[in-house]
Point group: C2
Chain length 387, copies 2
């Protein structure tokens, strides 16, 4: 089937510490939001793909079955996918593939994570298990440590500075303050960002994304059916994936994620576009250094120029390319399984001109960059207005 | 793309209590077995899909990254899928869809579980978490309990007897004794099977499948490329999936799994065949009653006739349809993520005439039936000889 696949609906829960709400409540909130301008019933959607990164946060095993029932899709085929922090886009890719393969006409994609029912220390430990539990985790390395290694290497190779890192945090909090669904909605000054409490040198508190609860949902259909589901479809123009060695010690460089470069190249090729065509991007800023590296790996800036571009506000609305102008993982929050789906929901808003004070004027082509672990799972998805 | 998808290689670890071997050792064993008659290198395989049901058995989060690296596919896109006990066929369906969608030409599917590093009680608890942890698990119901409910209902509705249930266990141990990869390779008499220690009334020890370690792997390609990878491809002729309500209390019947009937219907329709065309089946005998119900849901026998057919040896080699003649989950073992892939590997052997003392003469069309939870995840796959 050469027909394209469209996004015909999206919903998004509030991200944050959602006290008293569990996995299924968050899922319901996102799907209820999706239904607001959905022209069909859930009964018209053929199947679901559920992205949840970790069972242990909620204690619910095989979460897809509980969740599809909760959102009103009991009896429809379902699947849970997991790619660590890239789980959300992995779910989108799976639904896309099911439709392209001719198995279903329409698929619900739900990404959700409930992370704050355990302590932050326990959450960090659970996430560290996505590292190598035989050769790495036992020696104490958790995700701030991995990304601190990337930051140190980038600083050494390119002269990236503490101020450049902090510029990313400042921007993402600036836009998070304008996003009513963001976990933390407050501006942070450059001075505050530069002098925050250290986490893993050279990264400090304002370099690290949030531990959040949240959910996001999108419905995908064959392009030819899109108008039955919505007046405003958007189209998936390209999907690319990449990966890397499990151990960082086995890599030839720490200043770039080779899987992100591969994923971007594949997505651009499929869509027949280049980095210069992208108007707005959601990138995986699990740490500020990750956003800087992402903007280089995606081809927005030359290697080593991501830091200066961030400091120069080239990634603000009105800059060369708007990046994470919903607050990103840093300020909007990072409920693991939800993040990649949240990126799709936000980019849809932008492409439809519905992003309010964060709107990028005339955004036509949007890019989502979602990274699991330290680049072992990378998905890049390109979305275009209309169909 | 209307082109079919082929299986061009398969490998299988020994199933059992594999002391001292972890998740990655089991994965390596299965892939090494696959490579024995594989005409290409792993470098020629584009991507991998990894089926692991539970992180908590091994403690390794996001297991796909560690495993793809261990089996020699570092740097290739990977994904972990999970559908409780139907995880293996969910992985096959995902790989199939990726190829049909045109994303990849060839995909490695690996299913693996390491279950015996925790106690049997802990394993049962971890599996119970795949039930509803809010409304069911806290009241003590675990999987033997769920299937005991189905058994009681089936006995009441159709007069299914204790002897019929035990006939399934006797058969599966009979064939497991002929399978060098099976967890338990010993015959069990009908008397032993009927008088074993109770587990959850009316089910006893010989009605319950095993807690096992193990792995299985298959490689899928576009049909047009199959001969480059193997001299003996087999073809995926149909895939169907079904589901059900999360809670058993919400169902209209407990004598059948509606998701299995839907999945079978879809798979038969896609393949253009009927139940009568199936020569051999691997069905999900997590409990003996599950095999009886499966043979009815799949249309091999009328509702209520699965029990008498089992007692009458209609599911032996030479009977109406050979079912689980590799030992099934009962005797071969049930490493959750591996089971659906193991079914594919065994059916490939049968279709290629390589099943030795378990061979079904002239088997042309083979069926795999894989169930997660109590039918919330069901996949049925049809395989045919040649391409």
């Amino acid at each position: 089937m050469s027909e394209n696949v469209s996004i015909v609906g999206a919903g998004h829960s509030k991200f944050g510490k959602r006290k008293g709400l569990g996995l299924r409540d968050l899922a319901f909130e996102a799907v209820a939001d999706l239904m607001k301008d959905f022209k069909k019933d859930l009964g018209d959607v053929d199947a679901s793909v559920i992205g949840v990164a970790g069972d242990e946060f909620s204690g619910q095993g095989a979460p897809a079955a509980v969740l599809m029932d909760e959102i009103g899709m009991a009896g429809k085929p379902t699947l849970r996918v997991e790619s660590a922090c890239a789980t959300g886009t992995a779910a989108i890719k799976s639904a896309y593939s099911w439709i392209k393969a001719g198995l279903y006409d329409s698929v619900m994609v739900l990404g959700v994570e409930k992370m704050t029912s355990v302590s932050s220390a326990r959450a960090t430990e659970l996430m560290a298990r996505a590292g190598d539990v035989r050769w790495e985790a036992p020696y104490g390395v958790s995700f701030p440590g991995y990304y601190a290694l990337l930051a140190s290497a980038h600083m050494k190779a390119y002269g990236t500075t503490r101020e450049m890192l902090s510029s990313v945090g400042v921007k993402n909090h600036h836009y998070g303050a304008k996003n009513p669904l963001a976990h933390i909605q407050k501006e942070v000054s450059l001075e505050e960002a530069m002098n925050a409490v250290p986490i893993a040198h050279p990264l400090n508190l304002y370099d690290c994304s949030l531990i959040s609860d949240g959910a996001a949902a999108v419905v995908l259909t064959k392009e030819s059916l899109a108008k039955e589901y919505t007046d405003d479809p958007i189209t998936i123009k390209g999907i690319g994936s990449g990966s890397d060695t499990m151990q960082m010690a086995a890599r030839s460089t720490l200043t770039s994620l080779s899987g992100a470069k591969t994923a971007a190249r594949k997505a651009y090729e499929m869509a027949g576009v280049t980095a210069a065509d992208v108007d707005i991007a959601e990138v995986h800023d699990c740490f500020t250094i990750a956003e800087i590296i992402a903007t280089e790996d995606l081809g927005f800036f030359e290697p080593g120029q991501g830091g200066p571009a961030a400091a120069d506000q080239q990634t603000y609305v009105g800059g060369k390319v708007a990046v994470n102008v919903d607050g990103g993982l840093k300020s909007k929050g990072h409920p693991l399984g939800a993040t990649g789906v949240s990126q799709a929901a936000e980019l849809r808003k932008q492409l439809l001109g519905e992003a309010g004070p964060r709107q990028v004027d005339g955004a036509d082509l949007a890019l989502s960059h979602n990274v699991g672990q330290t680049g072992q799972f990378v998905n890049v998805v390109l979305y275009e207005r209309g169909n």
